[in-house]
Symmetry: C2
């Protein structure tokens, strides 16, 4: 799957991923009205509105982007109805030929970690039959529990040719509370980065490992160090745009081959129509605004890294 | 909710929680047969078998135990069908008057963490209407992202009178890879423990905070230190029984009031009928075997801590 991701990034000349993190207040009123008139102001109604919103954004952008990254929390907050839309979104994006990174940040141990891996990137056995479940292409995983938490995911990756992005240095302000603390003179995130390189060493694609890392755009100095610590790991970079990360800061996340990183934007793309810059599209044409925001983002990033 | 948990523990004289972590191979064959004959070897069939299994165990033990802890991964691995059983299990346990600790180990930042908190212990707004979703009483949370990841959960706890258990020192073998590393001469888990005490300081119940911690039974020396670092935090203790933790080691996790910790057993209770010790119950009476295992566990722990 890492080969497919690299291939898509090259083909579309776009090292970006669109975060499908639909807050209900991002969804245009007319979509909500339509959904509520059919299902009422119910969980089903909310789910329907979010589904139509996601679908329109995928339709308007899939030819430009290698991947989408639905954040499962935004669906889980609507319970079962929300999770059905998560699943439908995964399937729909894949049907359009783009890669799906499930931003699930799961992390547990042993059989429990294996169960998460099964549910998201593997297959479950019922009697003699096997079923795929949420079936993302990549998922994000939390490293706090150590190798016991990661290995079950890696095992499923090998079997199913899927991939991981492991949290190393997150984009938020308080990420330093634990991640930056010095251990034998080096920050915790560096040790986690070293482990990522180690976990990924025996599941290599053509030029990159199936095991990648998450490093926030908001910490470019750390990104520079981590790029060297794990040269074969793809870096998923959140925090560009709305969270304050700038394209000019992104160069250190990439390798000399121009590859090695994929930059996420969520709100900046999916709620582009709410920005002054794209207001002229109008709410009805929210998906066209998202398309223009994707074009602008690709140009912004490519001009900074090339 | 922490007051209700303490009250239930006192009333039942049982500082334990039953982990409802149903692997399909724990479920007795006759239950699977019944379910498959109705739904086939499908996800629905697996979900039905697990539901009947959980229901029988709750029916056989609810008068003895203060709480259950369903591990969401075990349900998530069956996709939407599994998650419906998770929700049904939460509701059913609550209808029997016991407390539900959702073992979800979620962790993200800002609005995303808020979305998880909403989905599991809060209410979501659709138009002007509010809905409860999975609606557990407590959830487990991962601390790797720092305060930004925890605060949204704490905010919802305050509003809804719910509670948290934050991962501090996990029970698995590789937990030391990051958690034991020394920072200014003290292990990371101690710093996380201090933060737990800090996060919990302003949401106190009568004698304990709404914000508790997870500390594995397999590390009693560390449990002793952590008990002092966070005296007002309830400690959820996994790793007893099947994972190797012994009752004799549990005393340091409790305060002098005989409270302050709740010990989990999953496999040891729900799959008791598979142990030689309880084999005489027979597979048909698996739930009675679980009841006896609960009685034995309560006695084992009380004799060690009193």
């Amino acid at each position: 799957m890492i080969n497919k991701l690299v291939e898509q990034i090259k083909k579309k000349d776009a090292p970006i991923v669109v975060g499908l993190d639909p807050m209900l207040n991002y969804v245009p009123d007319f979509l909500k009205k339509e959904a509520y008139s059919e299902f009422g102001k119910t969980l089903e109604g909310a789910a329907k509105a979010i589904w139509e919103y996601n679908k329109a954004i995928i339709d308007a952008t899939y030819d430009l982007i290698p991947a989408v990254k639905p954040q499962i929390a935004m669906y889980e907050q609507f319970g079962i109805d929300g999770l059905k839309v998560f699943k439908d979104t995964v399937d729909y994006a894949k049907s359009k030929g783009i890669i799906v990174i499930g931003d699930i940040k799961r992390g547990d141990i042993g059989t429990t970690s294996a169960a998460y891996a099964t549910g998201h990137i593997g297959k479950v056995e019922v009697g003699s039959k096997k079923y795929s479940l949420f079936d993302e292409d990549f998922v994000t995983v939390n490293p706090y529990l150590g190798t016991d938490g990661i290995k079950p995911f890696v095992d499923v990756c090998k079997e199913e040719k899927k991939g991981l992005f492991i949290l190393v240095k997150t984009s938020n302000k308080s990420s330093g509370e634990f991640q930056d603390r010095l251990i034998d003179g080096r920050p915790l995130y560096e040790l986690v980065g070293e482990k990522v390189a180690e976990w990924g060493a025996d599941c290599m694609g053509d030029s990159y490992s199936y095991v990648g890392a998450v490093v926030g755009a908001t910490y470019p100095e750390m990104g520079k160090v981590l790029r060297k610590v794990m040269p074969k790991s793809y870096i998923l970079v959140p925090g560009y745009g709305a969270q304050g990360g700038k394209a000019a800061d992104l160069k250190p996340y990439f390798n000399e081959d121009g590859l090695g990183a994929i930059v996420n934007s969520s709100r900046g793309i999916i709620a582009a129509y709410k920005q002054e810059k794209y207001a002229s599209f109008g709410e009805e044409n929210f998906a066209d605004a998202s398309r223009q925001a994707v074009i602008d983002m690709i140009e912004d990033i490519n001009s900074a890294i090339k």
